[in-house]
Amino acid sequence: MSNIFLIIKNYYRMFLCKLVKKKEIKITTMIFMLFFALFFAAIFLTLSYGTIQIAIDSGDPTIALPSFSITIIMFSFMLIVTESSPTRKHTDEEMLLCLPFKKREIVIAKLIYFFSFDFIVIIFLVLPSYLLYNIMVAGSSWLISLRAFYIIICSCLLANGVSSLINALFTKIAKNFQYSEIIKSIFSVLMLISFLIVYMLFIFISQNVTKTVAVYDFYPVRQLTSFIKDGLFSAFLIITIFSFSIFILSVIIKAHSLGKTINVYKTKKLDVSYKAKRVRKSLFGKEISKYFSSPLYVTNTIFGPLFVIIIAIVIAIIGKDYFIDLIQMVMGAGYENGVVPSSITSFINENFSTGIIIIITLLIAIAPTTCISISYERNQLWLLKAHPIYYYDVFIAKNLVNLVVTSIPIFISALLLSLRLGIIYLPFLLIIPLLASICSTNLGLYINLKHPKLVWESEQEVIKQSASLLITLFANLFIVIIAIIGYFTLNINVYLKLTIVIIYYLLLVAISTLILFKKGKLLYEKL
């Protein structure tokens, strides 16, 4: 046990050392993290407030609890999806295996360390709902919050265990193929799509009272609620045994495979192709292969573009009006009587098309692949720097990866949405997200050049926890917010306003390109 604590302590020490290494990064990272945390916590609290209020008004406040149980399940599902992406061998694995540690100690320490970040996020977002319940519902037991805390721990362990088992399965299947990493990425994307579909289905079901009751009666929801609400011992036992046993099983399997070489596939193909390509094409090929060979990289950056396609398909199928009803239903949870005021309803109706363009733009632009593409080079950066490759060829190749990832969803969504919103919106649905994507691509690359993280032990560090990612997220959010403020401040024709948004993005594209190719060049040379 002391070894586990020793390894975990060392990980946190390394994490803190990296955090305080550069003071300016530390402050900006902290500010961004705090901003995002408060923003999402506020959203969750508002929704929870509405749910509890409706429950109180109905005379039975406890009917709010199944809704919170569903939130925990959705979070666990999301964790399973994001953590199922197989990661490459950590660089410290061999070093740790040389030391007098048991394999299971290394595995448990690693799992606890990496999942502690997810755990903190879930605690921060979900637990306040229960605390709010205790505050709002007079006479309610504080044990509800305490039991909810335990459930969150169990759900994190369960998600951890399930994702590790899926991960092991992915790895076992994929190792029979040469491009196993690409196959793992495809698996991960399929998992992500399944999550998005379940999420959308949940929103649909929530609109129908009969179906909502059926969801509340869903076995896991019932068990969680029974334990949190009444402290039912049988539910406690089932939840504990289920989550702990799956976690332990995953630890055993992970410990078994720790240190083993995963990719042993050897082809017998002997005919070799020597076909020459242009430098830029060759660089792009290398970038694409690098990107699609990291399931974690893919799932963390393709989420937005995939969501765009799903939104477009849903709107194309169900139509604009039904989709507006769904939005109003979700928003209704934030109001005391569950009904959105008419002023807001008419605002949504009037600005629906613009709203969709804003959402698509945000989802497309928020997390470009480029904001980690320099850090992801790590020890291989010498290959770009020691060979006669112009900096702009490197930049273009890296930018093209993000443009390929985003442009296909933009085209698909624009075509589908224009069927429902009107063909007049087609140019705006195409041009605005495309320009936003180019701008965020440039910005992401520049920020990563400014804050590169070329030394890292695991992919998670660079893909999920790097400063450049957070700064890029915030910068892209800021750019969209400015566009929204500008749009709603102007009192002119909608199409004219959207044209001004295009001009705004055109200017940003020009400025970001100029900054990237002037200042970015100097940063690249200093790397």
Binding site: K266, K281, W382, P388
Partner: protein, 236 residues
Amino acid sequence: MLKIVNYSKSYNKNVYAVKNLNLEIEEGDLFAFIGHNGAGKSTTIKSIVGILPFDEGEIYIDGISIKENPVECKKRIAYIPDNPDLYETLTGIQYLNFIADVFKVSTEERKPLIEKYAKEFEIYNDLNNLISSYSHGMKQKLAIISAFIHKPKLLILDEPFVGLDPKATFLVKQAMIKFCEEKGAIFFSTHILEVAEKLCNKIAIIKNGKLIISGKMEEITKDASLEEVFMEQLNE
């Protein structure tokens, strides 16, 4: 071929990794760069190949400044690092084709060279496998092959024999000698003094970032062995 003039590099403003280094390597030279761990060998090599920017001085390759025109300089050199971190998501042949593309080597030119070296180094049958499945030695061999396929004028090698099996070591030595006979030049760092003594015509010893001795092998060693000279210089 390679001229280093008053080269200085500091990682910290006041602490120099290398200070005031002057070296000249001519056509046909096989030049060994020797020093203790942390002496500044890899720092110098990384600056020569354009990876590390430097504070003072100049580095010229074939008369062209690496500061002024890095890409033109890099077209004339090939570099093999001590630990070849190659693109693991590519196959061996994809990597070699990538390097050949970067140096604009045509299909007709690259084919016989890749075939020849890959067969000599016994990795031809593995060219279609991913680099991630290669051993350290195989990666080193692949990096060496990639250095020869664009016919560079100057080879810069950082510890080239690390991880190679005896046959590959022999082949690399033969290739190095042949390369210099054909008017190429090689600048390499090594800790294996016997190899440096047998292979090289010129040598430089660096200690704590400062060049302490440089010149022709026979003038430096005279009657002593290179090991004796090195230990003597190090202890001074």
